[in-house]
Amino acid sequence: MTSSDALAGHTFEELSDYLDRDRTPADPSIDGSPECQIALRGMQRLRNTHRALLKKDVERESEREDSWVNSILQHINLEARAGRDIPISHPSPSARLIVTEGAVRGILRAAGDSVPNIIVGRCHLDGDVSVPGAPVIVRVDATVLEGEIIPSLADQLRESVYAALSQHTELAVEAVDITIRDLYQVPAPAPVKASSDE
């Protein structure tokens, strides 16, 4: 129907592809052709219409919330993240005291959350944590607020991690390696309005 001739030698497929490439690199033979521009505008209109439709649908779904969110959260298996068993010593021979690796990762995140402007991502415990006294290296990925002094934040985080680990575990921590993966910016949404009513 729309022959290539009508599209200045281009196929509809090429134009579709061009749209998805955000029209880069610019192709003068497309940009300069009124027929191509009409076709592209049509596709753009289709996309806009679809986005409007999608926005409406997603908003409607967002309003339902909660019962289905809770249902999902109650079905996920926390055991899947328990990880290895980390022993805690006790004089009684029949005692088997354990803190799970998953719980320890949780305190590493919490330790990070207690330091402002740094966010802890993934954490790894390198070493045989199931053997008492075995040397362990803690590796923590983090993201830092743009503009902060990274070494000082990393030091604070390291201190906080050491403190948490010695409080909750008997791990022989040899080192806490912190890798700053990324910087983040202050979240735009109003931080005041929600908290002001407290």
Binding site: E13, D17, L54, W68, I72, R81, G102, N117, T143, Y184
Partner: protein, 190 residues
């Protein structure tokens, strides 16, 4: 000033996909919950469009998130968690359709008759979005899946190709055809 914000007033909600996916992979349920709230509604829309009904939507989305929780540790790039989740829900939705196909054949006469052919409905088509909804329901399945992975899931051509096990060139063609048809249908209602 920013440091005076109330600590733990769920700052998680402002975290990037990458951070949330990483933390969820490590077992942070709160981070996972933020992802569920962030992308669940879009996944529900996706599932309902593929399934053509809301009946099974909850199940499909729940299954998708349970799978996601299990498989998150294998996701290399947490920043891509959105399209990763959308691909999961796409797969689960299609599985659902395939599972019920035998019934569909039997019930074919009960299938919703194409409303757009009814003159009353014709007159009632108030908006382009409605026209688009109907047009989308009518295009061939492979085109629709391509289109949805592209426009809802925001997958790259490469991701779509991988998901549908098709060459990228085929994906490009299917997308163009979907757009062309949808555009024509939409224009008819203008």
């Amino acid at each position: 000033m920013p440091t005076t914000r109330a600590p733990l007033a769920s700052p998680l909600e402002s975290f990037s996909d990458q951070v949330l996916a990483d933390r969820a992979a490590d077992g942070d349920v709160r981070a996972f919950e933020v992802l569920v709230r962030r992308y669940g509604p879009l996944m529900r829309v996706y599932a309902s469009r593929v399934l053509g009904s809301n009946d099974e939507m909850d199940d499909v989305v729940q299954e998708s998130f349970i799978t996601a929780w299990q498989q998150l540790p294998t996701l290399d790039n947490g920043a891509a968690v959105k399209s990763w989740l959308m691909r999961i829900v796409s797969r689960k939705s299609v599985d659902r359709i395939r599972a019920r196909r035998p019934h569909v054949n039997i019930d074919l006469t009960d299938a919703p008759t194409p409303e757009r052919h009814s003159p009353d409905r014709l007159a009632e088509a108030e908006s382009q979005t409605e026209a688009l909804t109907r047009a989308l329901a009518d295009i061939p399945e492979d085109q629709r899946r391509c289109w949805m992975l592209r426009e809802l899931a925001e997958c790259s051509y490469g991701e779509i190709a991988e998901e549908l096990e098709l060459p990228v060139s085929t994906v490009r063609g299917l997308l163009a055809r979907a757009r062309k048809t949808l555009l024509q249908e939409m224009e008819e209602w203008r």
